[in-house]
């Protein structure tokens, strides 16, 4: 698909004496049908009818261990304490096999095996989960792997998946950002994980620092304590006229245009966000279902956001890289899963109850997995401890639910130890291609022209994993 360059379009407009407002989003992006509002974030139709309309990405940052969650390995238990034949290289040296300290159990009609760490999630939604056990990435390091999982490239600054999807579909509620990131503080690589790179700035995520507890704390300056909304609307209209005039005298100033748009969004956000982020408006039993914890509130906010038409919600487990259990994987994974199992179970249940799960794709996973072997003591974090697991990009698990994926389904397999994906391997690019497919996009055609060529989320890679599509 050839998308007309913004600049020439704007020049055309200035020649015609029209402002930006007269343009429809579809002509702006060369996508889908015309919208009434003319905003780059207006809802658009994808290439074909997709199963999923929106995405919740639960990012277990730091790298959860597959053999302790969704990929049971009896062989590993047999080899516990012994050197295994295929000890692959990861970030740090690892030694003998380390059996999972967690019990696995089969759940649902599908009999999906899940460890005790996600017992509540499995009990609530095993038959909705589609477990891709054969994921693999490029390198065993956080930063490049975060970039690959979020932006489709380990090295180059590229737009994030959420930005691409917002660009492709716009938002169903323009009074909220199309792409919201919930994270208390910042994860490793900070805002680079959700940047829009060369896509227009309006497709970048709005980061909500969930450290704050009240709505006012979540988004700073959300309320004007001096003037009412009506008067502010008039002020915004006046500001708009100033900015339109300013823009009409300039050529191709994307930054100025994005800034102009941001005031409209901010104005509407005042009302809508107050509502969307206020979990106290939920009945007590719902809040209790999620658990009245920070994590519970975040998952509940995620549901409230997608319910209100936010296109892509990315929910980070915590700042930094909480799942990075180089030591004491048992203790740490138990603590971490304990924080999110109930909220996740509640989210899936809640989405189902509301009929939202069928067109909401839930993605659960980290930037990579962990080794089935024990990390050997070295300097820094793992002094003298032999109870942790190193990073592992050779094989890891990502679980999906809703949005048109097969429920109670397992795709692919790692080797007998759970180290490397060996059967029906799925690269991160393939996962991206499949996610776009579920949303109704041909990943090779969702492109943006920049610096002389058409770019896409999957670059020159990506293969749709048909087996997981219902």
């Amino acid at each position: 698909m050839n998308i007309p360059r913004q600049v020439s379009r704007r020049e055309m407009l200035s020649r015609c004496g029209l402002g930006m407002g007269a343009l429809t989003a579809s002509s702006f992006l060369g996508l889908g049908e015309a919208s009434a509002t003319g905003s780059p974030l207006a809802a658009r139709k994808p290439h074909y009818r997709g199963h999923a309309k929106r995405v919740i990405h639960i990012f277990l940052n730091g790298g959860p261990s597959q053999v302790d969650t969704f990929d049971p390995k009896p062989t590993l238990t047999k080899w516990h304490g012994k050197e295994i034949p295929n000890n692959l290289r990861t970030e740090r040296p690892t030694g003998a096999a380390m059996a999972s300290p967690f019990e696995f159990q089969n759940y649902g009609q599908s009999g999906l095996p899940v460890s005790e760490l996600f017992a509540k999630t499995a009990a609530a939604a095993a038959d909705d989960l589609c477990v891709v056990r054969s994921m693999h990435a490029n390198v065993p390091n956080h930063e490049p792997s975060l970039m690959l999982m979020n932006c489709g490239d380990s090295i180059l600054p590229r737009p994030s998946m959420g930005s691409w999807i917002s660009y492709g579909l716009g938002t169903e509620n323009e009074n909220l950002p199309a792409f919201v990131v919930l994270c208390p503080g910042l994860p490793v690589k900070g805002a680079e994980n959700w940047r829009s790179a060369f896509l227009p700035g309006s497709f970048q995520a709005t980061h909500i620092d969930t450290t704050g507890k009240t709505v006012d704390q979540l988004i700073a300056n959300l309320r004007n304590k001096k003037i009412g909304l009506d008067r502010q609307r008039e002020q915004m209209d006046f500001l708009r006229s100033l900015n339109d005039k300013h823009l009409s005298q300039r050529q191709g100033n994307d930054a100025a245009e994005a800034r102009l748009q941001s005031f409209e969004l901010a104005y509407r956000m005042q009302m809508e966000a107050t509502d969307a982020f206020d979990v106290q408006r939920e009945p007590k039993y719902i809040r209790e279902m999620y658990g009245d914890t920070r994590h519970g509130n975040e998952y509940l906010i995620a549901r409230r956001l997608v319910e209100r038409g936010v296109r892509f919600v990315q929910l980070w487990h915590g700042k930094g890289q909480p799942w990075d259990s180089h030591v004491e994987v048992e203790k740490n994974h138990r603590r971490l899963a304990n924080e999110c199992d109930q909220p996740l179970a509640a989210l899936l249940t809640d989405l189902k109850m509301r009929g939202l799960l069928e067109d909401t794709l839930v993605i659960i996973g980290g930037e990579f997995g962990r080794t089935p072997t024990v990390e050997l003591p070295s300097g820094g974090t793992s002094v003298n401890a032999k109870n942790g697991r190193d990073h592992n990009h050779h094989g890891f698990t990502v679980a999906l639910a809703g949005g048109g994926v097969k429920g109670g389904h397992i795709h692919g397999a790692t080797d007998e130890f759970g180290f490397k994906a060996v059967q029906d391997r799925v690269h991160v690019h393939d996962l991206h291609a499949t996610i776009l497919h579920l949303l109704g996009f041909d990943h090779t055609k969702l492109t943006y022209r920049y610096a002389g060529r058409d770019f896409r989320l999957t670059d020159v890679e990506g293969r749709i994993v048909r087996d997981i599509v219902a």
């Binding site: 180059l156 709005t206 191709g252 930054a255 800034r259 005042q270 300097g379």
Partner: protein, 804 residues
Amino acid sequence: MRTPAPVRISFVFSCLLLGTTAAEYDFELGDQEYLFREAETHWSFQPLERPVPPTVKSDWPRNPIDRFIFSKLQESGMSPAKEASAETLVRLLFFDLIGLPPSPAEMDRWTKDWSEKKYRALVNHLLASPHYGERWGRHWLDVARYADTRGWLAAGREQRYPFAFTYRDWVVKALNEDMPFDEFCRLQIAADKMVGDDETRKDDLAALGFLTAGGRFLNRKDSIIDDRIDVVTRGMMGLTVTCARCHDHMFDPIPTADYYSLYGVFASTTEPKELPPIVDPDDMTEEQLEAEAKLAEMKTELTNFKDEVARKLRGPEKIAAHLEFSVRMKSLNRAKTISEALKASVFLKVAERWGRYLAAAQKSNDNLWSAWHAMAPHLVKGESGKAAAAFKKLSSANPAPPRRLLDLIAWVEPANLKELASIYADLIAETDATKPHPDATTEALRLVLNDPKGPLANITGNNIENFWDRKVSGSYRKLVIKFEGAVVDMPTIAPRAMVLEDMDKPFTPVIFERGDPSRRGDKVPRQFLTVLEDGKPEPFTNGSGRMELSEKITDPENPLTARVKINRVWMHHFGKPLVDTPSDFGLQAPEPVHRELLDWLATEFIRRDWSLKELHRLMIFSSTYRQETIGAEGAEKDPENRLWGRMESRRLEYEAMRDAVLAVTGELDRTLGGRPEELDGENATLRRAIYGHINRARPATSMLTFDVADPSLHAPRRAETTVPQQALFFMNSPFVQERVANLNALTKVKNPQQRIKKIYRRVFSRFPESHEIDAALAFVGDNEEKWEDLIQALIASNEFAFVD
């Protein structure tokens, strides 16, 4: 030609390299031999040669920069943009050079009779302003990953650096004085060596904050050193040396050995406990002297605490407790020993000393302790009867225990170990004296504490920290935290430099394999990077080698330093850099379109003694700089503006934006330097944003919202995002609302047209056009309250936020 090797990336790959052009590599990653060969021809490693500016047939060029620019434009069939208006240029120059908008009067003064002469005069005027150093100092502080705190530390520890601001102020001052950039760099690495005993240069010691004001990474030494290597190498030379911490660099000719050579330099330095004041005691103000006195008092409090703890060990209670515990601990395992000692308020190391002392006394059959040794083993088991029986036999022992002791024990009849210990403890404490005593028993008792082999020998307030337990050290830490906090909160205390100094014995580094300090590899000398030394680096011999390192970096033959600096300065003047990766000039950085221009500027920079102000003039006096942001051919032909056929439109960064809001409302406090102040909240400072307190672990929300670089790491370039939270700041923040109210009060005149003119002049440094007056009048109507809405809208507008 080399045969492409398969990509091998399945091992350690911890450095994210931005700006690479290909995701696939036709060499084996980390193959240093190959990378060194590549470096031989890579543009940035080539010696600086002075290209001849092309000859062009046009009267557009004003200086050689323009000839390079014009020539490339011409090759592409393009021509430069028109020259921007006087008003545009005046506003641009003000923001670019001092980060503040021109006042209406300044706008009038400078645009009147606009000419080349006037333009140059304005540039010189602004370069002479003390605000120049604040503006350009802030750019350097991004490179220096400057913050006022140590970063995340264990609970309770004081995170704030009391004196980081002296480094910030030094940077501002050095730039204002146009200190040659090479010296500027050298001082930041080795000021202690350069200043020496020269009292007149004392304030240059503050330059070392470049190294010391970084994060403390939970006080992990290796991480602190890594951060220092990074800020020096990426910051000054655009080389990602720290990628070679765990393995040879994947993409650049930097073997791990080179990393550890530099590691050795920084590991051979130490930070003194007492930071030197940069003010002479003779020159201190009364307030400063008072603060110094108070500081001394607090320090005495700390010393007293330690002395007191040491003194108490010689008192009867502590002697008894330690005596008792030295016996009890024999039957306890290690963990239990530690916890029981803590419970008994006994210092384990001291109890062990008592234990060893008693064992020696037993061995030598010391009659002072024979009663102890006879009774204690029974008493510790609660068998006082057996102890009494053993005691009875003692009177016939040879040598007999001192009479006084025997009588005392007989009279007390100790029922438990504690009572026996107390008898001894009282006697020992009573006789504690420095002078020998004529009475033999008294003298024997006196010697327990005063013999050089005694259990408390050489334990004083100075070294008590090595002995005490975590309960006492916790109390002491609380005092220290209080002290550290007081130093930060005592604004009158004389400013001090965050210095470093060489250790007496420099450290010879070894390679840590895979970055792991427990896996020690080969020894390497402290020396400079191999690739910049024609493969033959000479070991450093002057102490840690910091002086030599700084000289290598600023050697005019160093191909990187000047190029990297030119690129950074260009980026700030022209809105984007010539080389897209300002902190990575390694093999992955493609040769820039305007390499010759870059090289010419670099040689010119060195030729003009590394003068930054000269460099600014060179760039700003060019025709290239004076172009409009709208190109002659539109943006079609060169959407990326790689050929500079127009200027880049720029949004004010956080600091300039905040300063500008305060400036137009007339509230800006232009005081220079000093301790940091809060940027947000009720006590938000009215000073320039560079004086805002930067918390490394948790920067002010407004800073984060407006893309201020994360101060945890050196930042090559700030991101520029547009998010609704930025808009909300202009719409709803109390900060903006207060500014608006003040400007409203300042511009309130009867005549509404006049009022609008005043407001426009203040906010945009220009008069409104008549249709703008009409629109504003229509907006306000007859509602007096809406004047504030109007002013707020103007401040929130793109015209205010962008410079173009």
